[in-house]
Structure formats: structure tokens, C-alpha cells
Symmetry: C2
Subunit: 279 residues, 2 copies
């Protein structure tokens, strides 16, 4: 692949550009974003050139869609008209079913392969992009069938995943969405709901809190511009996760102040240890 | 004050010893703990000498109780029999009403002043103690009446609080407990319940998660040996906080996937920003 086009040069798109460059990519990296973002991306050396979407799509061997989910869904049809037949279109959207379904309907002139790098920071935008963002993180791919990973364009793209330090994981789009409802979307809601519970209340205004509150509300800084689409496209699975969580809180409420609570704490500590061991 | 006795040389007790030493305390620091802990504390230079409780209580100008809450409540009466009349007994327990009430009943031969440094780490024990633990953190004091802060022993103790980098805050024990139910105990339950919800489920085992899950379950590593007492002695206030949180989650559930969710996210981000601005 000689030319990579990053659609949406924000935290993820910008980091992917920096990451492949650092990993030795010698070709051209085009950016498709607002004028301000292109200017910042050029200044930081994240991309080589800014381009209108149509032009970039016609030139690129890899189209990397790192926009909000609704924007990706919206622009797939348009891109299909412009893209080179041997190109690969992939995306970095946080939910996969809606995007993969749409791609199946409208991408006919090139290959589409859904993806989701499990990396992030609370800071957004190309200013927060970094070459090491994907280091040690899983990179989920959601092909419709295993053969989709064997095309020349897919093989070439897949080759870059370990080179940027990521671990490729293959999942169906439905399985991906159900999984991240629990492992990513639920933690977000848990933190946002904690912060929203405290907002306007007198207790935090006393200043009487420790680092626990600061850490627990870090995710609550995340932008709704990104999360709105995630909730919209993964509502069904998130509702299940939320239901499990509320039920668990009710168990905690019943057990509070008694010895039975130890069992809940032990379960919690076990899981907390497990997610640390494997990272 | 010439001699400080640290009852419970763990994270908080050990850090207090290191902090006053770093801030220039020239006197003797005694430790009252298990043999293993005393050995480790001596090795790290956290205390000068280990002592049985009775001996240390008879010698100390400041008795710093940094044990679990139930242990503090239990040993107050005993200490009253041994203590020097001009000494100050203070504690670092995470709830105050139960301790202050007990002290009012049984401490007659010296002064008691309840305290709660709002500092912590997920690691426990004297091994995790550090001189800078209290730096920039609030140090709550819960006197029964304002005059209690004006005695020579109290003034001397209070003088060390800014010297170890802490900000003194005066609250009634009830107000303290109600406040930390929201700002400290609720965040703990939120994290533990998230981790307990995921424990044994298939989703985390896929490895498909990002740093958000790891960060969100950090508090879930906390020991029940400490938290059991907190839940027991602050159950009433924590139940109120938990109720508010569950109600908020139910509002989130209703709003999920719709535009009304933006309002919740904005409230959450506002609070998350506020608790950062002031630290």
C-alpha cells in the first residue's frame, strides 16, 4: 500500500497515522478533516497532505475511517462511488454491527473490513494523537467471513497491526458489540452516572474527597459527540449490561454493613486482578 | 511534642510518620503493630522503635490511631487508662461518628480529636507508605466544639498538618460521614459493583477492553478488611448515596440512545471538571 487516507484526523485517526509512520510506512498519508484539523495535523507532521474526501478516496490504497459512527455510516455509500477497486476500506468505530451492516449494503466496488482498536484517552483531537496509543492494546477485526482476511489488501493492512504494537482479535460484529457493552460502554455509564449523581450536590463542594473520586470520574470527561452514536447503535446490548449492573448494586445494598459483603468484594477484586494480569 | 506513637503502622500510619519526619519532626516515633510490621517499619526507617500499646501510650504526647475503625473503637477505653493527661489522641479512621461517639464515652484522662486525612492508595501496608501521601490532600478534623482546637496539644498537632502538605478542614462528624458517603464510599461501591458484575462473565475473558475497564476497576482492588468497618459504621448515609446513584442509572437507562442523554453527560462532565479544578 502506497497511499493511506485517514478520514477524521482526531485522536484515533491521527494516532494510526503516527503509528504506521513510526513503524516504517514509507508511503503518503492523506488527511480528510476540517480545515483547522488539517492545519494542526500538518503542523504536527501527522499527515503529509490534506485532501477533499473524493480525491483522497480515489487515490488511497487504504481508507481508514476514524470519524464518529454516524458519520462513517453516512459516508460509506459516497466512498463506494469514488474508491479504487483494489483498495481496502476499514474503520475504527466503537460499535460494529451498524457499520458492518451498512457496508454490506453499499460497498460493492472495493473491500470493507470493520475494525476497532481498543485504545483511547480522555483527551480528544489530533493534538492528543500519539504513535504509541495502540501499543499492547487489542485491535478487533470483524470480517463477515474468514476469507475476507486473506485478500492482498486485507493481508497488507493486517501486517501493520502487530507493527504498531497491537494484538489482532477476530470477532463477529454482534459478539464485538455485546462484549464492549460490558467492557467499555458500561464502565463509561458507571462513571458518568456517578459524576451526574454528584453534580450540584453539596458534598463535593466541601472539598472532602480523595484521589478515588477524581479517578472514578475521569471517564465522565468523555465527549457526548462520540458517545451519543455508541449509545444509539448499541442500545440493545448496553441495556442488558446496565440491567446486570443495577441488579448487582441492589445486591450490594442488601449486603451493606454485613459480612456477606466480603463475598462481593472478593469477586470484584478477582475480576480487577484478572483484567490487570492480561494487560 | 516529643514522642509520637503510631498505632497501626500501615499505609496511613506509616505515611504520617514519614511525613512528619520529612517535615522536620525531631522527636521519637514509636510504632504499635504486629511483629512483622514493626520489623518492616524499622527496616524502612518509618519508626524509631516498636512498643507494646500500654508502654507507648504512657510515653507519647501524640497518639495517632491509624488502625481499622473497629480496632480504634475497641481500644479507646484501654488507651484512656494508660495515656498521659497532657497528650492528644487522634485517629485517621474513614468514618467519624462511631469513633467520636465512643471517644466521648471513654476518653476522660486526655484529649481526643477525630481526624481523617483524605489520602490513599490501592496498595496497603507500611511497604506502601510514603512521606508525600498527604501532599495537597484535605485533612478533616471533627472536633466536638471549636475550643478543642485551641488546647496546646491540639495546636501543636494542627501545626503539622500544613507542614505535611495537607489542607485542614473542620467538619462535624455527622457532616463528615454524610459527605464521604457520596465522595468516597459511593465511588468505592460503584467500582466494586462494576467489577463484581463482570466477574465470571465471558466478555472480559475475550481480552476486548481498553484502559477504561482497568482504570474503572482499580478501586475494586481495595481490601474488605478496611471497607467492612466503613460500611458497618456508615451504612445509613451510604444507603442514601446508593439510592441516588441507582435512581440516576435508571434515568440514564431511560435516556439511552436518545438526545436527552447529552444533558446527563454535560452534568457529569461539569462535576468531573470541578473535582479536578480544585485539586
Amino acid at each position: 500500500m502506497k497511499t493511506v487516507a485517514i478520514f477524521g484526523v482526531g485522536l484515533i485517526g491521527g494516532s494510526f497515522a503516527l503509528a504506521i509512520r513510526k513503524a516504517g510506512f514509507q508511503g503518503k498519508i492523506l488527511g480528510i478533516s476540517s480545515d483547522d484539523t488539517i492545519r494542526a495535523a500538518l503542523e504536527r507532521g501527522v499527515i503529509d497532505e490534506g485532501r477533499p474526501a473524493r480525491e483522497a478516496a480515489g487515490e488511497a490504497d487504504l481508507l481508514y475511517l476514524a470519524q464518529p459512527i454516524s458519520k462513517i455510516v453516512e459516508s460509506l455509500e459516497e466512498l463506494n462511488a469514488w474508491v479504487k477497486p483494489e483498495a481496502l476500506i476499514t474503520d475504527a468505530g466503537s460499535t460494529k454491527q451498524a457499520i458492518v451492516d451498512r457496508a454490506k449494503q453499499v460497498i460493492s466496488r472495493a473491500q470493507f473490513l470493520g475494525g476497532h482498536p481498543m485504545a483511547g484517552r480522555e483527551r480528544r483531537g489530533v493534538e492528543a494523537a500519539e504513535a504509541d496509543l495502540f501499543q499492547g492494546r487489542p485491535y478487533v477485526l470483524t470480517p463477515g467471513a474468514a476469507e475476507e482476511l486473506e485478500t492482498p489488501a486485507a493481508r497488507e493492512f493486517l501486517g501493520w497491526i502487530p507493527r504498531i504494537g497491537s494484538v489482532p482479535l477476530i470477532l463477529g460484529p454482534e459478539e464485538h458489540d455485546r462484549t464492549v457493552a460490558f467492557t467499555s460502554h458500561l464502565p463509561q455509564l458507571v462513571s458518568s452516572a456517578l459524576a451526574a449523581t454528584l453534580d450540584g450536590r453539596p458534598e463535593p463542594k466541601t472539598g472532602v474527597y480523595g484521589p478515588a473520586l477524581v479517578d472514578s470520574t475521569r471517564l465522565a470527561l468523555s465527549s457526548f459527540d462520540i458517545w451519543g452514536d455508541i449509545f444509539l447503535t448499541n442500545r440493545r446490548h448496553i441495556l442488558v449490561a446496565l440491567e446486570h449492573y443495577i441488579t448487582k448494586l441492589e445486591e450490594f445494598r442488601e449486603a451493606l454493613g454485613g459480612g456477606a459483603m466480603r463475598r462481593h468484594f472478593d469477586a470484584a477484586a478477582r475480576l480487577a486482578g484478572e483484567v490487570r494480569d492480561s494487560t
